[in-house]
Symmetry: C2
Subunit: 115 residues, 2 copies
């Protein structure tokens, strides 16, 4: 059993977001995805993000206001949201007090060929 | 964007554990793993578990007392633990009041051949 303690993870501030990438654990290809925790400060909105990786996120604490397409969806702690490859998104934290903590797993989608 | 709301997920009771498997979302091979939420009632210990899948778990709320090998490791909300293929484990909830809620991703390890 291996423990990954969130409160001891090394994180870097990127604007209003603290990002703790799991590359720090030297897992190589143990997991079939890459992973990170990120924390969005209260009343903050990081810039829009868009990447080729599919991303599955799990809200650990706080509420994520997930803007994708023309809609904003509130995602409560314990729930999850899936963003497709190339899907533009903004993860807002609209709370005035509570940080938003999210775990994300992300991976390149299988090649389109052969699907 | 697709939402997976934990509080609306279909769950089945297996002894003191409520299990909500993500097969209910018909994701086919969208994710490179299978997934579930499970909730362990206060002061409960499900039977030991052991399976060929590697399992990465994230504690959503409560504290998991993860017994593996000869040790028990406390895993707080927000933190994660990784169980290897074939690693016997028991996930205790020692709290007298708080349910333990865990998200798990699990997958078959790559074939040993060629590694």
């Amino acid at each position: 059993m291996r423990l990954f303690a969130h409160d001891r993870a090394l994180a870097s501030a990127i604007g209003p977001v603290d990002v703790a990438r799991w590359e720090q654990y030297d897992l190589d290809d143990t997991l079939p995805f890459q992973a990170m925790w990120y924390t969005v400060a209260p009343q903050s909105s990081p810039p829009p993000d868009c990447h080729p990786e599919v991303e599955l996120s799990l809200v650990i604490s706080g509420v994520a206001s997930v803007e994708a397409g023309d809609t904003i969806t509130e995602v409560a702690a314990g729930s999850s949201f899936l963003l497709d490859s190339g899907e533009r998104h903004v993860i807002h934290n609209r709370s005035s007090e509570q940080p938003l903590v999210v775990f994300s797993a992300y991976w390149m989608p299988p090649a389109e060929a052969g699907r």
